[in-house]
Symmetry: C2
Subunit: 747 residues, 2 copies
């Protein structure tokens, strides 16, 4: 851990960077870390915070060690002074900002914002604690719009609350090229948006992850005299989210874990895209959630029942051992005289005529995008209040750090994402003499080594811990009554597992969440994995039983096309280590890459430790493992990944005995290899050498890139089979003999 001057600490505490650099996002070459301009930004952000808080302290004496309650009290006082007419006006402002933005874009979803504006207003104006000028303040309340298509609700709220990310011009460029207001909420585009939603059900599962993170950190770091971690997670989800299986998985876990500070609003509007929910969704959601162990409240009038909503939130907060679902019955497109309560208002602009009719109906005389002065004034206090909240918390942290030095250092690492120096030295090193082992077991050795040095490492398996080998032996289970522990038991819920890990990763940049199942079951959580990649959540996917090598369980359990399918996915690292050093290298890469997820494909079967493998090699993605040629002119290049690198090496040994000059290349990560210089690539794969053979117990799809049009790819382009693994390898021709024969046919 770096030593910290006061400024460094403060910088660190500001949390993650605000990046306007959209190139960063789409550029696979970018690695995480603070560049110069980011540092400046962080510094100025922190300076600004201090300035504001000082001024507040002077002016209204709000900032003191115990000022949290006074700030809350002030908020409540403000609320009590706010007359209902002004709330109405604010709510209608939200509605019309959404209507106008969708109308201007001629694209988008006005229905949800019009129906959910009241709960949105109450959340952002009366309930949530945040600092609009630092969207990454660590102890903020988190808000997730799981029904992501309704993003104009959130953009309108961020705008009113004073977030710099959503200015009036941003609202006006809704859904346009390069704007901060894309068609669904994207955390990497819009500071203030916590996670990326749109694919239904993901958001509520992310919210469970965020709430898990809070509960874990609070249990681990809070002290009797200092609640240094203390925030709520709020979520709005709709009928669509409720129908998705991932939501049920995640909510079952939330109930099991007793996430009392998770409060979800179910926008019960009875309309989905195909019409009334009666056509496909007639279950009792209330009863299901009671079964899942949630506290359930029904707000019957979500359109105008402000006090009902307020009372429900108060009740939800009073229930501390269960998450709460507040079912809020609303009218989709509330206010539109001809389209409200119909699917036509869900996902299309109202049209000029209906916009006029809605303006008339709701008594809204203003121009598009206008925020009335009294509404603007009312919301303006959040800038000062938010700064005060953060400043107060910084003060609190300073005190905390004095008393609890080690805890503070760990917490700071989680908040800032700065891992302890030399953490990678904890990774195990192997020699060819080390006993042969399955890479799933070697993975467990790495995880247990990292558990000692990475404060934010947390994770587990979807009911396969003893097969995936993912338990950190020094920790117990994260459970309702032991939330300070770090082994998470996800049950057989792969999709929620991935999305919950996304929530953990995006809670604080120092979290390193990992999750595990059989590689073939990535099919169950691909929706969440893609969001990891898109939203720059550096989740580590520990995927064992990575080929026909798992044997008897048969084709339902044997991945074939999965490696190729992740190689084709943007911003994700697909790593298939061959032995101990490559497994350690895979973890080195995975922990380093906090802005792109890693998929580790690991063997069930034992593998030898090969001479020539190395962490440094892994970091290049592809590298020479052994070679008896000279002048960069081998007779043939054999290449492979994972368990087949051993086979390629054995084939090379045989060919060398016959006097051939053979190079063996490990291609553990195509993505990392692609990032190397042309010069390096030529040193590994000289263009002049066209005799090339690849071997991988998986689809050959894509290997043409490396073997070229004259080479041979040995792989599996059909489904697997149920039998002992060595038998399947033999029958499927994944053998050294096959490699030797292919090589000889090319030399």
């Amino acid at each position: 851990m770096a030593t910290s001057s006061s400024l460094t600490v403060s910088q660190a505490l500001v949390g993650r960077t605000i990046s306007n650099n959209s190139t960063l996002h789409s550029d696979r070459l970018s690695l995480p870390g603070f560049n110069h301009s980011t540092r400046t930004l962080l510094k100025s952000s922190f300076t600004q915070t201090i300035r504001i808080s000082r001024s507040l302290r002077k002016n209204n004496n709000l900032i003191s060690r115990s000022s949290s309650s006074s700030i809350k009290a002030q908020a409540v006082e403000t609320l009590e002074k706010t007359d209902t007419a002004l709330v109405d006006k604010s709510v209608n402002t939200i509605r019309f900002l959404a209507i106008d933005a969708v109308e201007k874009a001629n694209s988008g979803h006005p229905g949800l914002p019009m129906g959910c504006a009241p709960m949105g207003h109450i959340l952002y104006d009366e309930i949530m604690r945040y600092n609009p000028k630092n969207p990454y303040w660590f102890n903020r309340d988190r808000f997730v719009l799981s029904a992501g298509h309704g993003c104009m609700l959130q953009y309108a709220l961020l705008h009113l609350a004073g977030y710099d990310s959503v200015k009036e011009e941003d609202l006006k460029s809704f859904r346009q090229w390069g704007s901060k207001t894309p068609g669904h909420p994207e955390n990497f585009e819009t500071p203030g948006v916590e996670v990326t939603t749109g694919p239904l059900g993901q958001g509520i599962a992310n919210a469970v992850g965020l709430a898990l993170a809070e509960k874990h950190l609070a249990a681990r770091f809070n002290k009797p005299d200092s609640e240094i971690v203390d925030h709520y997670t709020y979520c709005i989800l709709g009928d669509g989210c409720q129908m998705e299986g991932i939501a049920n998985e995640a909510c079952s876990l939330a109930g099991h874990w007793g996430l009392g500070k998770l409060i979800a609003f179910y926008d019960d509007n009875h309309i989905s895209i195909d019409g009334d929910t009666e056509i496909a969704f007639t279950e009792s959601v209330d009863k299901r959630f009671e079964g899942l162990g949630w506290h359930v409240i029904w707000v019957k009038n979500g359109n105008t029942g402000y006090d009902e909503i307020r009372a429900a939130i108060a009740e939800a907060k009073s229930v501390t051992d269960k998450p709460t679902m507040i079912k809020v019955t609303t009218t989709i497109g509330f206010g539109s005289p001809n389209k409200a309560n119909s699917y036509s208002v869900h996902g299309a602009a109202l049209g000029a005529k209906e916009v006029d009719a809605t303006r008339e109906n709701l008594g809204w005389p203003y121009e598009p995008f206008h925020v009335p002065e009294d509404v603007k004034l009312h919301w303006s206090r959040h800038t000062t209040e938010g700064a005060a909240l953060e400043a107060e918390w910084i003060g609190k942290f300073t005190e905390y750090e004095k008393k609890y030095k080690e805890d503070a250092a760990e917490l700071k690492a989680i908040i800032t994402g700065e891992q302890p120096t030399d953490w990678e030295k904890a990774l195990p090193v192997y020699t060819p003499e080390s006993p042969a082992d399955a890479t799933r077991n070697l993975s467990q050795q790495c995880l247990n080594a990292l558990a000692k040095v990475i404060p934010g490492l947390i994770g587990g398996s979807a009911d396969l811990a003893s097969s995936n080998m993912t338990l950190m032996k020094m920790f117990g289970d994260f459970q309702k009554n032991t939330p300070e522990e770090r082994n998470v038991r996800f049950g057989v819920r792969e999709h929620a597992m991935g999305a919950i890990c996304n929530g953990i990763a995006l809670h604080s940049p120092g979290f390193v969440p990992y999750c595990a199942t059989f590689f073939v079951f990535t099919d169950y959580m691909r929706g969440a994995m893609r969001i990891s990649a898109l939203s720059e959540a550096g989740v580590i996917y520990v995927m064992t039983h990575d080929s026909i090598g798992l044997g008897e369980d048969g084709p339902t359990h044997q991945p074939i096309e999965h490696i190729a399918s992740f190689r084709a996915m943007p911003n994700i690292l697909m790593l298939r280590p061959a032995d101990g050093n490559e497994t350690a290298g895979a973890y080195k890469v995975a922990v380093d890459n906090r802005k792109r997820p890693s998929v580790l494909a690991l063997s069930r079967q034992k593998l030898a430790h090969l001479p020539g493998t190395s962490i440094a090699g892994v970091e290049k993605g592809g590298y020479i493992v052994s070679d008896n040629s000279s002048g960069n002119k081998p007779d043939v290049i054999l290449m492979g990944t994972g368990s087949e690198l051993e086979i390629a090496s054995a084939a090379a040994d045989e060919l060398r005995k016959e006097g051939k000059a053979v190079r063996v290349v490990s291609l553990i990560s195509w993505e990392l290899y692609d990032e190397q210089s042309d010069e390096y690539k030529e040193s590994v794969f000289p263009a002049a050498v066209t005799a090339r053979v690849s071997i991988e117990a998986a689809s050959t799809f894509g290997w043409g890139k490396f073997v070229g049009s004259l080479g041979i790819s040995i792989g599996i382009d059909k489904f697997g089979a149920s039998a002992p693994a060595p038998k399947i390898y033999k029958e499927y021709g994944i053998t050294a003999e096959a490699v030797i024969a292919a090589a000889k046919s090319l030399i």
Copy 2:
């Protein structure tokens, strides 16, 4: 519809083929249809059935038009005469067949069969109606082991019931190469197994599909004087299935549809792989299922409470408007003195010592794999009874056919899989003058044309019918009270949708189920899609909004890697049509391929109808759309799929104006192209022509195969963006200008 002689009818009614040809399964080249040996098999199977039923008729006068009740009565009578001791013995036979097979394989899952043997015995011996000598008899009760790892339960039951697919030697080769008893149930390996399970949650969703199929056919074809369709669907699922989101999705639909003939047994044994379910699964499953609209019964003693189980099934049958979940509390590994009720008995052989201890504990003196004579004798009646059931039904169908000729013809087409002759002539034909349209709309035209001629066409969308354009206008909605209709409303439940369609497809070979969502959300149902491919279920996946061309919804909704990911998957057809004729061609191929699923990627945006596209071309997977070269020596080959074929064609037009000889190739389906002859391939892609440019608004992964090492692939290897589609195309360089520049750089 082919005219039918008596023999043809009978053959047809036998249902689908029994194939022992495992090559067929893994061979992508095979097309469905009856070959000579299959016909012989069907014929002999039918002859055998008749012989048995004649003998029964003579001997005990069981076969008459109203004999159904007498057969049932006989079964019950047998049951009543069966003393509990014999049931105990039969149940223990099942337990030990499982124990012995797992022990011999030294691999497998003994725990579930040992716990579920009682319910298994009662189902197969006392309740279910089936014909062991014709596992494909249409009107059989369906059984699905959703907890597929417990497959030795089903193999033991099939063995006792007299199925030829599971002889003693098959039990002894459990989980071995080439056996009929793979590590998880596989319908394509083991006649008597209805669907392929193992990946948890799939089976219960398949069961919902099977029950939907029955309810639909019964409503459509039954007459006041003839219940020609009348069977139950039974399913056993465990804690693992219950945790999976797909199960909740499917069960929510089953409740919504009121599938009264679906009876699911929940093996409530409190143990999952990682230990007691307390660590991750503490919800009230009962309450959740009540919320989902199911009838719930709890059998507290599933280990020995035979009468409790019988009573529960009787009660379940009496509830006709709801599916029933019978929660059966069992002890995993019942009988094993040291391992019962622990995770150690879930997924590993007991070990010789514990097998001995279990033999002693349960008083089982027999050698491994022994079936006591009285048990054998008791079960032997199923062969004659099953034949009688089928023969009776055939008699009933003969009567039905006389009275209801047209209905019988339609039903027969669904039972046999023989589509009406010339059905493909119903597909629409387009000319370059036809108005430009989105392929999603052209798809709807095809679906509506096929609705008139394909009796088994049934399907719908996951709440995107109006975006996916999947409504068949001549039909209403399949709903609880209108199950004879064919538009299915799946709600926002992609994963269950896919698995339900697998169930429908595998119910009867003439079903042509289709389902729809945005292409990107294949990520949510990939688990089910892979099972379509593996289990040879010819589901048609209608996937619209297939690229950045969907525009403003942004990167969460824009597929990039999805096309490549399906091209890498075995036994699935990935089709991306470019216009009307290609869309019609895609449907031609999809309907023809009843043993492999098809994924149709369709555009949101309008596309021109191109000169040169054709259904015949589509059937070759890749073909020349336009060409101004001679002697098979174009200067450059431009290739593309879907919406980018138009761009390639526009680029070709420009290049030709400059005097270049340009060939344009559509590569709508790489799988079909791969099946063409080398000669044909050379005629499309002459080896000598290395100047090749591909364009596809998707990952370039895999295109190297066609453009070669000297060619250029234009595509998208990062995530999309939120903006109007033309703007994204331009910014991402998916333009004719880019194609022209690339081509010029190569010529």
